[in-house]
Amino acid sequence: MKVKVVTHILEANDRIAAENKKLFKESGVYVINLMSAPGAGKTSLIEKTIQEISGKLKIGVIEGDIAGSDDARRIANLHIHVVQINTGGACHLDANMISEVLGDLPLNELDLLIIENVGNLVCPAEFKVGENIKVMLLSIAEGDDKPLKYPLMFQESSALILNKMDLLPYTNASIDKIRKNSLSLNPKLKIFEVSCRTGEGIGKWVKWLQSLIK
């Protein structure tokens, strides 16, 4: 016998994401879902961002990794509330994983929660976790072909941060090409050029971020 179902496969995830989002709103915390390939500099960007604005805003961090807690230790060294999630093999964070750790963070005290997703240019873009915006990081050494190879993440993100700009003379990457193709995929994408190593460009990114958090 045939039975019609017609249900979105990610419905369960989206429902939990909506609950998380409601809780974030009630707690008055702005939430960023930060995504990139492994090694693009997500944790470094979080460290730089914290150093730049921790005097003005209360920040919390959720670290998502397949295994290990090195990243959480780096953030904890900056005296910031941080929770490590180990996905145990899963290539992305989903709404339920976030929901389960929210009790470990003082949400009411926070202005900004940064969720560092698992390093992966594909899967994290598919799963909402309850964030206000998705931000992606691309280190220029990864190559200027990435927007057209991994279009979904570029389409889903509100901001694209190009990291490791200090390495530009040593790569063949064309920033123009990255900009042009990213904007073709997502005309509203806000693009920042930074180097977490030298600190170049961090100010502009942080200023934009602060403008979003009222």
Binding site: V3, K4, V6, H8, E11, N13, A90, F127, P151
Partner: protein, 114 residues
């Protein structure tokens, strides 16, 4: 790589629906997967065969209907369908004023139950 999560979710939707209606088991689950959804049909089938073991869908086949990316160009007022997972501009006139209509599907839409 996250096809396992997707397989688990679609299995849960199918099994929950089946139990709710009082059926004993599932023979076929039909899903619609858009080419722009980021899901690889082969990987999804592989993951589904692994996660269905021990459930009432243990013998179920997964039928995947792949939906191509299609849309409408506001500039030249024509519809288009492409083979790629994304489209940057109208394949006919090249304008960027396009509206994507299909290709992002990720739905369970029908099952054969007994």
């Amino acid at each position: 790589m996250h096809e396992v999560s997707i397989a688990q979710s679609l299995l849960k939707i199918a099994v929950d629906n089946c139990k709710k209606e009082g059926y004993k088991g599932i023979e076929i689950i039909k899903v619609r997967i858009g080419r722009a959804s980021g899901i690889m049909p082969d990987a999804l089938s592989f993951a589904f065969d692994a996660v269905k073991i021990g459930t009432i869908a243990e013998k179920a086949a997964l039928n995947i209907d792949e939906i191509p990316v299609s849309g409408f160009c506001e500039s030249c007022k024509s519809s288009f369908t492409v083979e790629e997972a994304y489209v940057l501009s109208c394949p006919k006139c090249g304008d960027f004023l396009i509206r994507i209509e299909t290709g992002h599907e990720l739905h369970v839409y029908e099952m054969d139950v007994f």
